[in-house]
């Protein structure tokens, strides 16, 4: 099957691994990620103000593309996903907002939230299925204690994201289990890493990322896995450095045995 794919700015630059492995793994699992043409940056964060319209247009255009192709819109980057899903939710539930957006769109077309925005994890869980993935694992991550790090963007606001239980999420843990690894459950996995505030006040990022990493390490994790480039940056740069941080797709690629191919291709 084919799905529409919104990579986002970071995946084209600093987080190329996240993007490359996402495509390879999806292909291996029978799904083609078709990149949307001329996509524009999502803006990184969703502005909650009710009168912020223009900042959300790039997300709406991406969603329109998915609707026109009658396919779900998949993102890997947690931030892009958060912005697009929240925008879609607002288009579906806030008539006033939708009206304003459609005035901006004008002759480009109209949109009322018909498309479905899903995260790569939802693609794995709900479309492909963890059982299928389990069957395709070539290099099980046996003996590896892996701490899933959700951060804030994947789960919250939970009413809108509808991804998982915001306080006790299981999707990444289930995936780790399917890949043969041993998930490590720790309380800080859904707390913020410090996010973009690293530009404003690196101390905040240091404090929060440190807390997350210490908690994961104290529960015996060998590594932390994340879907967000900024989380990875903060954990690596501002964490305690106790354990390595890897991208979710990288881990998946390793288990599915497509990671080497990628290296060969390079």
């Amino acid at each position: 099957m084919k799905v529409r794919y919104f990579p986002g700015c970071t995946l084209k630059t600093k987080a190329k691994d996240l993007d490359r492995y996402a495509r390879l793994c999806a292909e291996e699992l029978g799904v083609t990620l078709e990149e949307i043409e001329n996509w524009q940056c999502c803006g990184g964060v969703f502005t909650t103000a009710t009168d912020e319209i223009a900042t959300k247009l790039s997300s709406v255009r991406a969603l329109m593309d998915a609707r026109d192709h009658d396919a779900p819109l998949v993102t890997v980057c947690s931030a892009c996903h958060n912005v697009i899903k929240q925008t879609n939710h607002a288009m579906q539930n806030d008539a006033d907002f939708a009206k304003h957006v459609n005035l901006y769109l004008g002759k480009d077309g109209q949109y009322y939230g018909e498309a479905k925005a899903i995260h790569y994890l939802e693609l794995l869980r709900d479309v492909i299925g963890f059982d299928t993935i389990r069957g395709k694992v070539k290099n099980p991550l046996a003996g590896k204690k892996i701490a899933a790090y959700y951060g804030c963007l994947l789960l919250r606001p939970s009413q809108t994201m509808q991804m998982d239980d915001p306080e006790n999420p299981t999707v990444m843990e289930d995936l780790i289990r399917a890949l043969g690894g041993e998930p490590v459950v720790y309380a800080q996995r859904n707390e913020c890493c410090g996010g973009y505030a690293v530009l404003e006040d690196a101390a905040i990022a240091k404090k929060n990322s440190g807390k997350v990493m210490t908690d994961a390490a104290s529960h015996g994790a060998d590594m932390i896995v994340t879907a967000c480039p900024l989380c990875r940056y903060n954990l690596e740069k501002n964490g305690t450095g106790e354990i390595p941080v890897v991208y979710l797709t990288e881990l998946l690629a390793e288990a599915l045995g497509v990671k080497e191919d990628a290296h060969d291709a390079q």
């Binding site: 909650t48 103000a49 919250r156 905040i204 940056y233």
Partner: protein
């Protein structure tokens, strides 16, 4: 209508938040990751907007410490959504002329080789107009 009344109305409108729903439990502040860096804490944002005491908030550094991580929003028992109030007050500041917090000239100094673009665009969106 006084200036502070107008300000309050503007904040309530842009945020879509009703501070009267607050029951003063303080769970927002209990869960806030930036609490110690803030002068005014999430529950104070809610209370001060309710009482119309908004100007001190606009002058406060607290506006730039919120991570928009939505922990306060998700865990609030009354669905008050304090983070949206912080955002509305911050927008009231940075939408004014000269209100930008982050200036493009200052950015190169803040970057390092690994910093993802995502951090930059997010910060620009949050701190500048």
């Amino acid at each position: 209508m006084t200036h502070s009344d107008r300000l309050k109305e503007q904040i309530l409108r842009t945020s879509g938040v009703n501070p009267l729903k607050c029951m003063r439990c303080g769970k927002c502040s209990a869960t806030c990751p930036s609490y110690d860096e803030m002068e005014y804490h999430p529950h104070q944002f809610v209370y001060m907007v309710e009482t119309g005491d908004i100007e001190p908030l606009m002058k406060s550094e607290s506006l730039y410490k919120c991570l928009t991580c939505f922990a306060c929003v998700d865990r609030c028992p009354r669905s008050v959504e304090p983070a949206k109030l912080v955002e509305a007050v911050r927008l009231a500041v940075i939408r004014e002329k000269g209100g930008n917090r982050l200036h493009t000239d200052d950015i190169p100094a803040k970057l390092d080789d690994d910093m993802p673009q995502q951090a930059l665009v997010s910060a620009l969106r949050k701190y500048s107009k």
